[in-house]
């Protein structure tokens, strides 16, 4: 049996496009007279409409969360681990929606799509989105799909922050909220790493002030470097030691050998960077990292996270990953403590793992069991 037809896969899936013809105004003031959102769904929406679950993707994620796009597709969606028949987010019970955020580069309106008013790519002219803009645009999508309430909004990393924003901005829409490896806002160190990534892109000679598509180029060197730095922050030191150690891919440690040395870890990072640099749009990377920088759950409540969360109506699952230093457990604990202080139902776990920030995407028996058991309270019983 091929992977695309295995029993616990959602199998072959096709992205769909929702066209919004009313104008959308971003928090920062930019306006789109119309826009498109690309999304995928798995499972069936029941007649009561109470089994819909929204998945929010992370920085470099997309609407393709599970399943395969073709029989020859070797890589399933980015969260196939968790979504499928009998999996923690069980598509036999739940109707799962995942959309590509506005301003991203996988099909939704964004810097690499055409500005309908000029007929040329938006490039650097696409408005800066914020997390709360994505929440509003997803609410439009929900209504378009005939959904009036999410049984759960779920995400990891940036997606987890988006799930929390949903619970705050539209409390009656969110029955359950899952925030994995998230944070209530970015630290100076987080912003610094994002700035290094942006600096790499903006200093690439092929950047052309963001209008590289019009110039027929791609700032691949800048994007590759941005990804290498980013990717490094998703892994833990122990995890990297276990996986790569000090092993050489090329050259040797033999005395007198002065060939080009390439450590396994170098080769891995270069591969990650170069693959990403042709697949991911540079403007989107700049916009997404900036959206992260601007994210602050408590911003509208004078920095009071408890006050920010006090209107939420959801049950919360907050989980962190022990070796995550991008958004370390302490950041999830801040969310947890504010939820407890606000009197909200919350379950919190710190998953023991060497997988670092990427822990929320990778297999781990405790993590998968916990998520699966918690998800049983989501949707009609």
């Amino acid at each position: 049996m091929s992977e695309t037809t295995s029993a616990n896969s959602v199998g072959l899936v096709s992205p769909q496009t929702a066209k919004c013809t009313t104008s959308f105004t971003f928090a920062n003031g930019g306006v789109l007279s119309s826009h498109e959102l690309v999304y995928e769904t798995y499972g069936e929406l029941n007649s009561a409409g109470d089994n819909a679950v929204l998945i929010c993707h992370a920085l470099s994620g997309s609407h393709h969360a599970a399943g395969f796009h073709s029989e020859d597709d070797r890589r399933p969606g980015w969260w196939d681990l968790a979504i499928g028949p009998g999996k923690p987010i069980d598509t036999e019970r739940l109707f799962v929606v995942c959309s590509n955020n506005l301003g991203c580069c996988d099909g939704s309106s964004g810097p690499n799509t055409l500005n309908p008013e000029t007929g040329t790519p938006w490039g650097g002219g696409f408005p800066q989105p914020q997390v709360k803009d994505w929440v509003r645009s997803q609410k439009w999508l929900a209504e378009y799909l005939g959904i009036s309430r999410w049984a759960a909004v779920i995400g990891g990393s940036l997606g987890g922050m988006q799930a929390l924003q949903w619970a705050i901005d539209f409390p009656h829409w969110v029955e359950n909220c899952v925030a994995l490896a998230a944070a209530p806002g970015l630290t100076a160190q987080n912003i610094a790493f994002n700035e290094i990534a942006r600096h790499a892109i903006l200093s690439d000679p092929d950047w052309h002030e963001g209008d590289y598509l019009a110039e027929g180029t791609l700032p691949t060197r800048g994007v590759a470097l941005a990804r290498m730095v980013g990717h490094l922050t998703y892994m833990s030191a122990d995890g990297m030691s276990d996986r790569f150690g000090r092993e050489l891919r090329e050259g040797s440690f033999a005395p007198g050998d002065n060939a080009e040395w390439v450590f396994q870890v170098e080769s891995y990072l270069r591969h990650q960077g170069s693959r990403f640099s042709t697949q991911f749009d540079a403007n989107t990377y700049v916009l997404m990292t900036r959206a992260l920088d601007l994210f602050d759950l408590a911003a509208d409540h004078e920095g009071d996270l408890i006050a920010a969360l006090s209107n939420a109506q959801a049950n919360f699952l907050v989980a962190s990953f022990s070796s995550d230093w991008r958004f370390p457990p302490q950041r999830s604990i801040e969310i947890r403590d504010a939820l407890i202080a606000a009197g909200k139902p919350v379950t919190y776990a710190n998953i023991e793992t060497d997988n670092g920030h990427d822990g929320f995407l990778l297999p781990n028996p405790h993590y998968e069991q916990l998520l699966g058991e918690w998800m049983r309270r989501v949707g009609p019983s």
Binding site: D337, I340, A341, V346, T347, Y348, I351, E352, H366
Partner: protein
């Protein structure tokens, strides 16, 4: 928690209370409180397997080390804070007790009584640390690092300005009354309802 402990604790909890269960284990007790007493509970446990077991019962549970001070819980956040048979496992039982009566309007604590005559006989006659069915582990390999007696506990409560509202004792079948009259000698374990003095 033994069935007898459980019965006592259940009878002390007002239906509809907000309960914090420290060291909630697999969540069986909290689930029972929810089902029989309509309690809104939250559990605390450090062990991932216990966490999963509690979550599978539909409970809310927070992974946290009680020894870290329970700072996530605010003063007067709960009606009752329960610590069942885990006092002796804590690094600083006195700090935990203080926190419990701060967090909860009331607290319920149970522990095995090290002053029980069998323990005394074991130590006095054999000259060895007591081991029994209830305490099956060797002294060097036990999570129980802070055993106390009924008298010790009551004296600590007085030192910490904690009021004892009620005490129940568990003793062998033939010793129920002895356990009640001479708890320090005959109670195999003791259960207390406590609160901050003057509250």
């Amino acid at each position: 928690m033994s069935r007898l402990d459980l019965k006592t604790v259940l009878s002390w909890i007002t239906p509809g209370s907000r309960v914090l269960d420290l060291g909630c284990g697999d969540g069986a007790f909290l689930a029972r409180l929810r089902d029989e007493r309509d309690v809104h509970g939250i559990g605390v446990d450090i062990d991932p397997e216990n966490l999963i077991a509690s979550v599978s019962k539909g409970l809310d549970v927070v992974q946290e080390d009680i020894n870290d001070g329970l700072h996530c819980f605010t003063t007067n956040g709960f009606d009752v804070v329960v610590l069942a048979h885990a006092l002796q496992e804590l690094t600083h039982p006195h700090i935990a007790l203080q926190r419990m009566v701060d967090i909860g309007d009331e607290a319920i604590v149970s522990f095995p009584n090290f002053g029980h005559w069998l323990c005394r006989a074991h130590l006095g006659l054999k000259g060895r640390m007591p081991m029994s069915r209830a305490m099956p582990l060797q002294w060097y390999d036990t999570p129980n690092i802070h055993f106390c007696t009924v008298k010790d506990f009551e004296s600590l409560c007085s030192e910490l300005e904690i009021d004892i509202i009620e005490r129940a004792t568990i003793a062998g079948p033939a010793q129920a009354l002895l356990g009640k009259w001479f708890p320090n000698l005959f109670a195999s374990s003791a259960i207390y309802r406590i609160r901050r003095a003057g509250s």
